[in-house]
């Protein structure tokens, strides 16, 4: 068995693999050069590819993403880093109005093959402005692909797919997973965007998860198994394209659905999954659809408070138990 690698290392590995095969791939962001990124997710890139391809920027989120857009429109495949996903708000014009619309509003004349990578999510006590899970922000915008890997190997496979994609991709790396270890990605590992992974088979309930909530759902499934409840766990891996077929197929067998999402319940991506299942999978359901999501408050600092707000293994098991008894 190969030595395990971290999710953090896999980010740099995934980018490096693409930079080796395609000179048009360039990186830009704050502190991503010699410093290797504040989360050390770019370590080694500057040394291997040099300052022309791995560029430190000023603290200018609009310029970072706007310049990435201009470069992508003119032949490059930029990978832009926005340090914390909360800061996407500082360049939201580009993600809401410019990048996703330009192909459409020009009648297909222009395309934007870029990746905006960002560290997303809570659980590390960074407080309200450095901890939000904001994948639902991107999910509301037609024209953006939205990816959020849960394992080191998926980081590499999805990074390859994202960088090779001719469409813009927002790539959410989870802060709570950076230290997580897993099997390294095989050589030439490329996943397809929009293909969910069934990471645990089960018969009684389907748990749909993403990124940080995947290990959470897996732990809940483990606990539920001890109580005789067999849970299937689906890792969506990307929100756009959304593998709704995988969810519908699973619910068709299990008849119960619990969606585990880190973004707030209010406007979270699980609402769209729930609405698809309510609409197209209604006959399969033996119980209401439940969403275990973050509370609708800014993320607090203290652990005792953060625990109240974020989804947890206990909240997932409780939701499943309630449905099993339904």
């Amino acid at each position: 068995m190969a030595e395990l690698v971290t999710y953090r290392e896999s980010v740099a590995e995934g980018i490096a693999r693409e930079m080796r095969r395609d000179r048009d791939v360039v990186c830009l962001g704050e502190d991503i050069g010699a410093a290797g990124g504040v989360f050390k997710t770019a370590v080694g890139l500057f040394d291997e590819f040099g300052p022309e391809r791995v560029r430190d920027t000023p603290i200018s989120e609009q310029a970072i993403v706007g310049a990435a857009m201009g470069a992508a429109m003119t032949g490059l495949r930029p990978v832009a880093e926005i340090m914390f996903s909360d800061f996407l708000a500082c360049c939201w014009d580009y993600l809401a109005n410019e990048i996703p619309k330009v192909r459409y509003m020009t009648g297909g004349q222009l395309g934007v093959p870029l990746v905006v990578r960002t560290a997303n999510g809570g659980g590390l006590g960074f407080g309200a402005q450095h901890s939000q899970a904001v994948e639902n922000w991107a999910f509301t915008v037609p024209g953006l692909k939205v990816v959020a890997p849960s394992t080191p190997s998926d980081v590499v496979g999805l990074m390859a797919a994202a960088i090779r994609s001719d469409d813009p991709v927002v790539f959410f790396e989870h802060k709570g997973l950076f230290a997580a270890k897993g099997e390294p990605a095989p050589p030439d590992h490329v996943l397809e965007l929009g293909r969910a992974a069934t990471v645990r088979r089960g018969d009684d309930v389907t748990l749909v998860a993403l990124a940080w909530t995947v290990p959470m759902a897996m732990a809940a499934a483990e606990e539920l198994a001890r109580e005789g409840i067999s849970a299937e766990v689906i890792d969506l891996r990307s929100l756009v394209p959304l593998d709704a077929a995988a969810v519908l197929e699973s619910v068709g067998r299990t008849s119960r659905l619990v969606i585990v999402e880190e973004n707030p319940y209010q406007g979270g991506w699980g609402a769209t999954v729930a609405s698809i299942v309510a609409d197209e999978g209604f006959e399969s359901l033996d119980a209401p659809v439940r969403r275990v999501a973050a509370e609708c408050v800014p993320l607090p600092f203290a652990d005792a408070l953060e625990d109240v707000v974020l989804p947890s293994v206990d909240k997932v098991t409780a939701a499943v138990q309630a449905l099993a008894a339904y």
Partner: protein, 324 residues
């Protein structure tokens, strides 16, 4: 040289008449939404275009008809877009504010004030990285100089020393408010350039020859690896901000003064000075008149936007599918 100026004159005449046609078609109810006409500002687009290479990149604003036309979009394709026709530049998916002709290096018109300046910086970065010798040009209004993206773009372009030109069309007003009343420096773009250690030129934006010279000099510098230039071209719009604006907030003497400095009149006077017979200039006007008349007819006769197009062009595969 004289025949070149006559060419520029004719291009400006075509733009002026296309804008007039857009105005008339709007009043006739044949153009919906809104339009931001560039009548009065033709010299900036024509002068700059004349100084640029065919493969250079241009980014414009919602007030961008003149830039699309100057870069080679046909009046018929522009008017068809305004009239929601399937033969429009963007097949009816863009409209007046988003005229784009990518195959002529006109990489779009953007309606979020200032948003395209960082894009031009990125296009310049791409050109420098690929070593193509291309430059990128962002045209923007005076109002855009007070938005963050302007400052972020100038700073990044300066520190990366990119081949990009920032060309401000200072027409003295934002929508209805004079730029001077919300800006602490008299020249909103040029006076800011120094903060980013960038050279700046304050020029007469109504003189097509002056614009051409300034842009050529800046483009040469950029191609030589000497970095960005800020050009502030003082100009004036002949109409209100957009379709519903009668522009009563502008003092009559100011309007009069600027109308007397109409870029077409200035070019005409210069042509006379150069000894170009008036008949030749009139002939250019007549050709422009005819071209635009035919363009209007062509656009009017074109089929409307195809409803099937509403659900295309979201993704690179041409479609709009977001789920399985």
């Amino acid at each position: 040289m004289t025949h070149q100026l006559l060419d520029r004159y004719e291009q400006m005449a075509v733009i002026r008449r296309t804008e007039k046609a857009a105005h008339d078609l709007f009043l006739a109810g044949k153009v919906k939404g809104t339009t931001h006409l560039a009548s009065g500002q033709e010299a900036v687009a024509v002068g700059a275009s004349a100084a640029l290479r065919a493969d250079d990149y241009v980014f414009a604003t919602y007030r961008g008809h003149h830039h699309a036309l100057a870069r080679g979009a046909s009046p018929a394709a522009c008017l068809a877009e305004l009239m929601s026709r399937s033969t429009g530049l963007c097949r009816g998916k863009g409209g007046s504010m988003h005229l784009t002709k990518a195959d002529a290096g006109m990489l779009g018109s953007y309606a979020i004030v200032g948003s395209h300046l960082p894009m031009a910086v990125g296009a310049a970065w791409s050109a420098a990285y690929r070593g193509t010798g291309q430059v990128a040009v962002a045209f923007f209004g005076d109002g855009a100089t007070n938005i963050g993206a302007f400052h972020e773009a100038l700073n990044l372009a300066a520190v990366w020393r990119l081949p990009v030109l920032f060309v401000c069309e200072n027409n003295l007003y934002m929508e209805y408010t004079p730029i001077g009343s919300v800006t602490p420096v008299p020249n909103p773009a040029a006076d800011r350039a120094g903060s980013y250690a960038l050279p700046s030129e304050l020029i007469d934006g109504n003189d097509v020859e002056v614009v051409e010279d300034a842009v050529r000099t800046a483009a040469d510098r950029a191609r030589a690896g000497e970095g960005p230039t800020v050009i502030e071209a003082r100009t004036y719009r002949h109409h209100g901000h957009s379709r519903t604006d009668p522009a009563t907030y502008r003092p009559a003497d100011e309007v009069e003064e600027w109308l007397a400095r109409d870029p077409l009149l200035l070019a005409r006077a210069r042509l006379a000075e150069l000894g170009v017979p008036e008949g030749k200039v009139d002939a250019a006007d007549e050709r422009a008149e005819r071209l635009v008349k035919e363009a209007v007819a062509e656009a009017e006769a074109a089929p409307g936007a195809d409803p099937a197009d509403a659900l295309t062009d979201v993704w690179a595969d041409g479609g709009a599918t977001w789920r399985s």
